[in-house]
Amino acid sequence: MLEFMDYVQHSFYNASHWNTENSYSQLTATARELLEFDTPRGLRLNLSSLSSPNFATSYAIGSVGLVDGALSYLYTSLPLFPVSQSGNIDLHDVIRGYRQIQELRKQEESWMWEEWQGGKRIDKRNTLFYGRLYLPQSTLEALYLRRLSPTQQLKLSAVSDSRLRNGGTILALHQYDTGKYSTETLYSTDGGLVGVRGLYNFGPDPRKGITEPPRTEDRFYGRFSAGAEMYYGALNKSGGVSFGGRFATLPAHKGVPLTATLTMNPLMGNFSTTYAVKAGKNLALCSKFDFNVYSYESDLMLGCELWRMKAKAKKIQERSMAAKLEWRLDEVQETLAEPEEVTGVLKARVDQNWRIGLLWEGRIKELLFTLASSIDMNRPDQPFRAVGLEVQYSS
């Protein structure tokens, strides 16, 4: 489940029309959500509030052995109006499961951002500041996010911690997204790591006009994307490369939505394939297979996600008193299909070593909760390796 601050951050992306999905680092997002979800440990409470459209606070307290906590504050220059009450938040927004990729949008032109007043430009770039202090570890996380232009974004994140070498690290990430392709350049002060990532979407170019969904129903309608990444650590003289491709169906696809990815690391000889289908409205399945051609090591992982909807009580239509008095039937009203309410989501994964992860997320009254457990079947004496409960309240 997304933390409140991440939720606010995502609403910042949405409000500023930034497509986070169009990035090479998000290529396997679906598999990650379905297979590599975090299972919290211990008890954790989050208390958050979006006190004004520009300002959010969040407090967390947790106990894993010892009590620790975190204070976080967020400021954004762009007023945000997400649903912030935990009792009303749509669970689809905070629980990430199968990620349906969307049609590419045409990016706004930079002149669209211009605001003029009295012959002067007064428009400002949207920025977001975010800080989180962990206690008692005294670790400080800071994030600076700035939309440079409709196609560019700068993200600076820093961690200050006395236990880290040099007392902390800074990561600078510049993102450039035209829709058709996107590139990212990053630099980390830790080891002088420089990295480049790029993603190219095959198919129609969104800059050249609106694409129409095809009429044929029997063919897969989707998008193929391919990308690569490259890193080089200037100080430790080490590097890494990977290539990847993804095919995913688009919302207009009539059949079963699916996502398939293939990533490979030529240096390390590692191949990884994932395949995810949304088998039903409330069910998604995913599998992942890793293979290393050098060491012949392989790994298989299976996962699923099940959304449980609230059973709707059938409304019994009774004739209204007015209708009875007038000796007539009620007019037939067109009831809009109400969006179903989610009561909970069950996520489960299992790998070839019989390590099982279970996650149950949902809402009780005004509280969002996450209940997680990781089970190791190889140790029958104490299979439960971790159990965690996370409770969130926000207003």
């Binding site: 830790d190 240096l267 390390m268 050098y294």
Partner: protein
């Protein structure tokens, strides 16, 4: 004088290699490994080679049949080799990300995917040159300390020899690791090995510990130590308890015992022990209790090595009620309580319990032990017996106090006497034999940890070395202040106490019986001398015999094995 260093039998023993490999493996995996090592480090092959190290004796500090202290100069350039196996992470990006905060992680998609490579490292052509301090005693095993960094050079060959960068790196890292291993881990390994070799009890103890641990894992249910009666139970005075009497003993049955375990007191004692564990300055006051701090002056003397009759008497006498409480605690903490003390359960647990309580720290206990050793030699004096004849404990204690100069050993006997009610000789007869050797062995037991109470009865001396600190922690929950009280307040009122003493430890009986009546003690002393003389002949026999003989083996110089004694009788 000649020394015979035998190198090849040691190296020829397959069992030895297996054991050494195991110990090295555990030692290597103990410290947290760098992220580049993704698997356990296994010692694949170990060979000490055929070339023995050159030893040059620089100094011999202490030399006796069963102990040795000396300084050597060692040079080694033999053909020993060691092969290690592990798996390493070959992707530098993977290890790079390992310890980095996720918030600033570049989050590579697949560039960090791992590639683990099996790695085999062979260390050979080891050249050592060091000054070694070697201390050996039959009880404490072998202690070996390097005075300087022993490693001169070694050759590291690995799977990655063809890559010079990796080879140099490995050479450097391994030399560093090996230095720490030699300086820190090796002495510990050798010590443990030596204990296994020379002290069969230690091995038994280790095995028992393993079994214990397994058992503990399976069932953590608290067991009533009195649920299954001990096989040959004795009461405080050493009388054999019959089945009926045993059955009357239960943790919550007897009103006497019940009063000892009043909930309030338990809570207070818990608070008291907790106050040691925390930084809290609050010490709950407990009525009628003697705190260690109050007895400190004499205590200090005690630890200094001089004989102080007064303090020990307090402590010792305390043991009688403490026992019962002790047993109780054990049952909760671990089920040694009844699992392992079939022969003399009360004794063992009691003793260890008292240790924790009455002896504040390991050093005290050690000093006690030292004293005790001396004591045994001219154990039963006519004088002591006089004291004992029928006097109450307080008197005897004072007597001892007044004349500490005479001999260090005297005081201890009277102390124990405090609680001792005058007894009929008939009761004693059976226990005389055991009492003689118990007379000192119990003191050792005190040093052992309660959790290992059962084991403590066996390999005692090792525990002194290894576990003196843990003892303190584990012992804390034990109830002692209450135990002390009676001895202080009413040393004379033995009859009253008698029921409470049911569970009392053998130590008490032993000393009692020693002091109890002159004739018997003298007899015992004679027996003892006989045992002393015949000790050698019976060494093997003693070691072959079970529990009691086992405990005495390492204290041979002090006491003859009881089994032997019984025969002599």
């Amino acid at each position: 004088m000649a020394f015979n260093f035998n190198w090849s039998p040691l190296t020829a023993d397959a069992e030895f290699y297996k054991m050494a490999q195991q110990m090295l493996t555990t030692a290597l995996n103990k410290s947290p490994k760098p992220p580049i090592i993704v698997d356990d480090i296994l010692v694949n092959e170990l060979n000490l080679g055929s070339v023995p190290p050159e030893l040059e004796i620089l100094e011999i500090g202490d030399l006796a049949e069963d102990r040795f202290r000396g300084i050597f100069k060692m040079c080694y350039s033999g053909d020993a080799f060691l092969t290690l196996k592990t798996r390493v992470q070959a992707n530098p990006l993977n290890t790079y990300l390992f310890s980095k905060p996720s918030f600033t992680s570049p989050q590579p998609l697949a560039a960090s995917s791992g590639l683990t490579i099996p790695l085999q490292i062979t260390l050979s052509e080891i050249k050592l040159s060091a000054f070694i301090i070697l201390v050996f005693s039959r009880q404490k095993g072998l202690t070996l300390v390097f005075r300087n960094d022993p490693l001169e050079s070694l050759k590291v060959s690995s799977t990655f020899d063809s890559i010079p960068f990796v080879r140099d790196y490995l050479q450097k890292e391994i030399e560093m690791q090996l230095r720490t291993l030699m300086m820190d881990e090796l002495p510990a390994i050798i010590h443990r090995l030596s204990l296994r070799l020379w002290c069969p009890e230690y091995r038994a103890k280790e095995d028992a510990e393993l079994a214990e641990a397994e058992k503990l894992e399976k069932e953590e249910v608290a067991v009533d130590p009195l649920a299954s009666p001990p096989q040959d139970a004795v009461d405080a005075r050493g009388n054999v308890l019959n089945a009926n009497e045993i059955s009357t003993l239960s943790l919550d049955g007897g009103s006497e015992i019940h009063s000892l375990f009043s909930q309030k007191n338990l809570v207070r004692l818990a608070a008291l022990t907790d106050s040691h564990r925390t930084l809290s300055l609050f010490t709950p006051s407990i009525r009628d209790a003697v705190f260690r701090a109050w007895a400190s002056p004499s205590e200090r003397n005690d630890s200094a090595g001089t004989s102080t009759p007064a303090t020990p008497s307090l402590l010792r006498s305390a043991s009688s009620p403490a026992n019962s409480s002790t047993t109780y605690t054990f049952s909760r903490g671990s089920d040694d309580g009844n699992g392992h003390m079939p022969s003399r359960p009360s004794l063992v647990s009691l003793q260890s319990a008292t240790t924790g309580l009455s002896l504040g720290a390991g050093r005290h206990s050690r000093s006690h032990m030292r004293k005790k050793k001396n004591r045994v030699v001219n154990l039963r004096k006519a004088k002591t017996t006089d004291d004992m004849a029928g006097e109450s404990g307080s008197e005897s204690a004072s007597v001892a106090a007044s004349e500490p100069i005479i001999s260090t050993r005297i005081p201890e006997e009277p102390e124990d006497n405090i609680i001792t009610p005058p007894r009929s000789p008939s009761g004693k007869v059976r226990f005389r034999t055991s009492s003689i050797d118990l007379g000192d062995s119990p003191h050792k037991f005190r040093l052992s940890t309660p959790s290992r109470s059962a084991l403590s009865s066996k390999a005692v001396p090792e525990q002194v070395i290894l576990d003196s600190t843990p003892t303190m922690e584990k012992d804390e929950p034990i109830i002692y202040s209450r135990a002390r009280r009676p001895s202080l307040k009413k040393p004379q009122s033995q009859p009253e106490k008698a029921p409470a003493i049911h569970l009392t430890p053998a130590p008490i009986l032993s000393s009692e019986s020693l002091s109890g009546s002159g004739g018997i003690v003298e007899q015992a002393w004679v027996l003892k001398m006989a045992g002393e003389i015949a000790r050698r002949a019976h060494d093997e026999k003693a070691s072959r015999e079970g529990f009691w003989s086992g405990s005495t083996v390492d204290e041979r110089e002090e006491t003859p094995p009881p089994a032997y004694q019984a025969k002599a009788l």
